[in-house]
Symmetry: C2
Subunit: 351 residues, 2 copies
């Protein structure tokens, strides 16, 4: 029998956004790895690739040509997961087990830059601010469509994250329903706000700033931290300091601070294993159902798969799929490692 | 405007085990794939590998030698995610955001066979029955330890599923708490049983047998089907026909039927893409908290990642991590494809 030491002993942590637990096994980082290694693309990319369907002026699979865009460029996904067509549907309430509902939606692709060879951390702040303004415009435009109640902005970066084209781009899936994860978060944010009249993330951020141990970056308007309940080894969350419910409520200063923290965080990520760091990232913010959402607090999740090096990822498999997410390094340790990464991109030093 | 066609139109389906929705995009299977391909090991394995830490007689990382076992063999995981030590802990109830609790548990590895070169579908029925008896013994032994309330039996198969050794083996993680996914399932099974006095899966199975469209295999005592709410392209579930709450309640006949359906299902899986089909599988059954659990109904999940071929998997990334699981082929179509697979292993035909 010994006293609980959160830095040493296996334990579970609670995630109040999803109302779920995660298993933390600090001691397990020591285990040797003999499993699969990821392959990483190392050849330098050209600024323009004539075979890339996202580069300016090129023709896409459906025969349409991209304009010769010079900042960002948005188009409808040629292989969208949802369709805009309205579907007539009568719910069969007798079906306890075969419950299905048609879903209407729009999928778009957002090219971040005309340059084929850049990624977020390598772009300049103007370019990143321009992406943020594009996200604002899309959130407004898509959100104002009558049947669209949720706009999911996200990026899959790196082939290990299912990204099939290195040209810097993200996606937007807008739809009628709140997706499962968002619905859960919505429920928990609302319960907290109704009870406390403050957003859950406002109070959480205060507690984190007071503790300091999981903070990676803080600037005037945003904080990047490793959540207390993070499941991925180097998972982070960017939070606005003000309780802003959506990206369109940012001030000019906040747009600029957001661009800065995006660049700084992704530079630290790239520097961690001297590689173009793969992740899926995405913004969680207020639904676009036309109602006020004071319970929502703008935040962006980064879910990066790498664990030990540029080629060894964390496998969320057997136990994790059937039981519970499990991590091998504490969030405090990850935050410390990320904090220590230089703010200058490793490639810019190579030049 | 058109009428809803579940085989053609994007829709959401409801999973009553987890109380979650999944997005189904039937039309999306047509999209071309230019992304990452998995590498597959194609060289034939030896029956015995002197460098394998699971083969009989070999020495493991911690210096201990495996016995010269001739059927199955169980040992404590040398790099366990949980520890058996009891931890003294006083809960700090003031912490709304930093909730953590020590977790006590035991991790074991189950070698399925002394043969390094076999997998479940290639083993004979006696060998598979022997694995089932080993699972029964472990469920009993671990479950009878006072602080163990849940025994998770699972297998990660294939390097794409984080498996670092091709020697056929599974794992068991036994612990004090119900893991997140199991807790959710428990809650939903109990609510259904309390209301209907029958297990949810008993009634679900009746509805599935009546429909027939998602059944892959049926034998005297078990059914393998693609759940109506499956998220992975070729996800299946094996269900007992009787409402049995745990593996130790199987009759002799049921042990034999279970071995048969395990072999038949994994042969169909291997035949699908003529490859050793990767998956994570695991058993969900009654907690070992000493109480009766009439609401629990024995079932085994198979979560295989492959989508189009032996090398192209489904990526559960951006939208799926932030929003909701999404699939590109209907469960009915997957069931039809699996049903059509021969019951003789493709390798045995090569001989
Ligand atoms: O078999 P191992 O090496 O213990 O580990 C494997 O299975 C575990 C349980 O699903 C996961 O936590 C690991 O990420 C995975 O690599
Ligand atoms: O970028 P793509 O090709 O549309 O697709 C990628 O992102 C989607 C949304 O996260 C996933 O459903 C796909 O599995 C993934 O390959």
């Amino acid at each position: 029998m010994k006293n609980f030491d959160i830095n040493e002993d296996p334990h579970r942590r609670f995630n109040p956004l999803l109302n779920e637990w995660v298993l933390v096994s600090p001691h397990r980082a020591k285990r040797p790895w003999q499993g699969q290694n990821e392959t990483i693309a190392t050849e330098a990319l050209p600024k323009y690739d004539s075979t890339c369907y996202l580069c300016p002026g090129n023709v896409r699979a459906n025969g349409v040509s991209n304009p010769k865009y010079d900042s960002s460029f948005v188009f409808e996904n040629d292989f969208a997961a949802m369709k805009q067509e309205e579907i007539i549907f009568e719910e069969d309430i007798k079906h306890t087990f075969f419950k299905a509902k048609p879903e209407q939606g729009i999928s778009r692709v957002v090219c971040f830059s005309p340059r084929h060879d850049l990624t977020l951390p390598e772009m300049d702040l103007d370019g990143i601010e321009n992406i943020i303004r594009t996200w604002q415009k899309e959130y407004t435009d898509l959100g104002s469509i009558k049947y669209i109640n949720h706009v999911q902005i996200f990026e899959n970066k790196g082939s290990v994250m299912g990204c099939s084209n290195p040209h810097p781009h993200g996606q937007i899936w807008a739809q009628s329903s709140l997706p499962t994860q968002v619905e859960k978060t919505h429920h928990n944010l609302k319960a907290y706000f109704d009870k406390n009249k403050r957003t859950l993330l406002q109070d959480y951020l205060q507690a984190e700033l007071k503790s300091g141990s999981r903070i990676v970056i803080e600037n005037d308007d945003f904080v990047a931290l490793v959540p207390f309940w993070a499941i991925w080894p180097y998972e982070t969350m960017i939070l606005s300091k003000r309780a802003i419910s959506k990206i369109t409520d940012f001030t000019e200063a906040e747009v600029s601070s957001y661009a800065k923290i995006l660049k700084q965080l992704t530079i630290k990520y790239d520097n961690l294993f001297s590689t173009s760091f793969p992740y899926s990232s995405g913004i969680h913010q207020a639904p676009t159902d036309g109602l006020e959402h004071p319970e929502w607090h703008f935040h962006m999740h980064f879910y990066p798969p790498l664990l030990r090096s540029a080629t060894v990822k964390k496998f969320m498999v057997g136990y994790e799929m059937l039981g519970e997410s499990q991590r091998d390094i504490t969030p405090e340790k990850s935050a410390e490692i990320l904090r220590q990464q230089p703010d200058v991109h490793y490639k810019s030093k190579e030049v």
